[in-house]
């Protein structure tokens, strides 16, 4: 013991790993460290760095003129418009749902809670293509409601409502999944105190809960929005690919690519890559904010 104690202290406090203990017992040899860092960098460079660079290089490979033409021509503009429209519907809906679900699940105890959480996670386990298929089975011409819809002249599949539905399904869990653990961790003390002081339900939610969860909520919204704008498989099944009408940006990229307009395809794709980069920056900022909040609280 008499020998053990100082050794232990030395391990814990040795500066810069200079002592015997820190380098040999708690860290890998410098060579191993360098090899591991090298492997990680090569792997990430190959699978993340190169693809990211390739999008932008290919986008400008035929010159700025082609790039600008590709993102401003009629079909591209209508694809951008549709993508924004779909996100403008799906994002608020799923955000509202996420907040409501998290309030019920995190602030109250009831039976079947864990089943409910699993059900909310379901869409993440469904292949994008199947997420489109289920709406075709419901609303397509041969679908359960197909005949009725046709008689009443309502189009869902191969039209905008189908795209909105499939996107909403695919992005369903994002905000709920972010907020449930966050609100569970925060507990109910603050809200209960407010209620006992006479605050109304809406007041409690707006003044206390919302201010506590706003970064977590934004975090979920950022991820939800990225997925909603970028979804391909599900939307591809329900869209019907009508140019200038039911093409979202990812579908427009596909069409251009399949027509061998590679530069134009990458030009539109680079806008989506830019969206991905903005998403990553916002995500990192919000994580940083939340960590600081966590450290302060």
């Amino acid at each position: 013991m008499a020998v053990g104690a100082p050794l232990h202290q030395e391990i814990a406090h040795a500066p810069f790993g200079g002592g015997f203990s820190r380098t040999q017992a708690l860290e890998e040899p410098a060579l191993v460290r360098r090899v591991l860092i090298g492997l990680a960098l090569v792997f990430l460079g190959l699978f993340l760095g190169l693809p990211l660079a390739a999008v932008f290089v290919n986008a400008f490979s035929s010159g700025v003129g082609v790039f600008v033409a590709a993102i401003t021509e009629h079909d591209a503009r209508s694809a951008i418009g549709l993508t924004l429209l779909v996100a403008a519907i799906s994002v608020p809906l799923n955000t509202l749902f996420g907040v409501a679900a998290a309030w019920a699940i995190a602030k109250f105890d009831f039976r079947g809670k864990s089943t409910l959480i699993t059900l909310i996670d379901l869409p993440f386990a469904v292949s994008p293509v199947i997420s489109g298929l289920i709406f075709v089975l419901l609303f397509g011409l041969q679908g359960f409601f197909g005949r009725w819809l046709a008689e009443h002249n309502v189009r869902i599949i191969f039209a905008i409502p189908g795209i909105v539905l499939a996107t909403t399904f695919i992005t369903f869990p994002f905000v709920a999944r972010e907020l449930i653990p966050l609100m569970e961790e925060q507990g109910t003390d603050e809200e209960e105190a407010a209620v006992s002081l006479g605050a109304g339900g809406w007041q409690v939610f707006r003044r206390i809960t919302l201010s506590n969860i706003r970064f977590g909520m934004l975090f979920g919204v950022v991820l939800l929005n990225a997925r909603a704008m970028g979804e391909f498989g599900a939307v591809s099944v329900v869209s019907g690919h009508v140019r200038g009408y039911t093409n979202t940006m990812p579908l427009h990229v596909e069409i251009l690519y399949n027509e061998y307009q590679t530069s134009a395809a990458f030009a539109v794709a680079s806008l989506l890559a830019l969206l991905a980069l903005v998403t990553l920056v916002l995500k990192t900022l919000l994580e940083w904010k939340m960590r600081r909040r966590g450290a302060a609280g």
Binding site: A125, G201, S236, P250, L272, T284
Partner: protein, 277 residues
């Protein structure tokens, strides 16, 4: 109150929020998913078996599951290295690289698909280097593996990072002071501690890969029996108005995905219990 639906609380809004949650969940998720199973129940056994057991469909399942398994395996190895390096070492650019790990989550799959194809085709930056060596990636099963490795990349890293972060340095110190070498400590002390998280990340990457569509269809070449994945087969059958066939192929994929989801939940339960212990 053992039989009450909910325990007493002074907070308002339970009925409203739970009601909305259940209604929205039922409308957007449960009814559409149920439709798939109702449709399947309407198929005769022969229809179902013909659709699911045809050689072309079996080949597609084999490719989807096989490539997803290999992709998840690659990610388990390199994801562990990446997570380890990001958590344990300090080097320039670490924060940027850490943020970039989520790129496959944020980048639309179609963009990933055409980009990987451009990189790995024989005129591409990487394909051009591999071609003289006789290695073809684009339009081969290897291309499918590459795409699925890309989409699964963040899962292993992101499930491992918090667990590696939380490992108490004291247990490593204890192992060291008891005379364990560094490699021994890693294998006997650290590995068992993070193994459940590694398995969870692997399972998540695998599950994502099985259903993946957008990033794969461009690079795969989509030749029946060789480079055609199961989700593409669903799309193809739908385009031929073969709803029964599409449904049958889909329901098998879906049931397997749900089983994976349950397994992942169980694994995450193990991880959480270990963290609490």
């Amino acid at each position: 109150m053992p039989f009450a639906l909910k325990q007493k609380s002074v907070l308002p809004g339970f009925g409203l929020t739970l009601g909305f949650t259940l209604a929205y969940l039922t409308l957007i998720v449960l009814i559409p998913l149920a439709g798939l199973f109702v449709k399947t129940a309407g198929l005769s056994w022969d229809q179902f078996a013909n659709a699911v057991l045809s050689p072309r469909v079996l080949a597609a399942y084999r490719l989807s599951f096989g490539a997803a398994l290999i992709g998840a395996g690659v990610n388990a190895v390199f994801g562990l290295i990446v997570a380890w390096v990001l958590v344990r070492y300090r080097f320039p650019g670490r924060r940027v690289i850490d943020a970039l790990v989520d790129l496959p989550f944020a980048l639309p799959t179609a963009v990933a698909g055409i980009t990987l194809t451009a990189l790995f085709s024989k005129n591409g930056w990487i394909g051009g280097l591999l071609e003289p060596l006789g290695v073809k990636v684009a339009y081969t099963p290897l291309g499918v593996v590459v795409a699925l490795t890309f989409v699964g990349l963040p899962f292993v890293v992101r499930t491992l990072q918090p667990v590696l972060q939380d490992i108490d340095p004291e247990i490593e110190e204890a192992a060291a002071s008891l005379g364990a070498g560094r490699f021994q400590t890693f294998l006997r002390v650290l590995f068992p501690a993070f193994f459940p998280a590694l398995a969870t990340g692997f399972a998540l990457a695998f599950a994502r890969g099985v259903g993946e569509y957008g990033s794969v269809v461009f690079i795969a070449g989509n030749m029946p029996m060789r480079t055609e994945i199961a989700p593409l087969l669903i799309v193809t059958k739908l385009e031929q108005y073969d709803y029964a066939g599409a449904t049958a192929v889909a329901v098998v994929l879906l049931v397997i995905s749900f089983a994976l989801l349950l397994a992942i939940n169980a694994l995450q339960g193990v991880t959480r219990r270990r963290e609490e212990a």
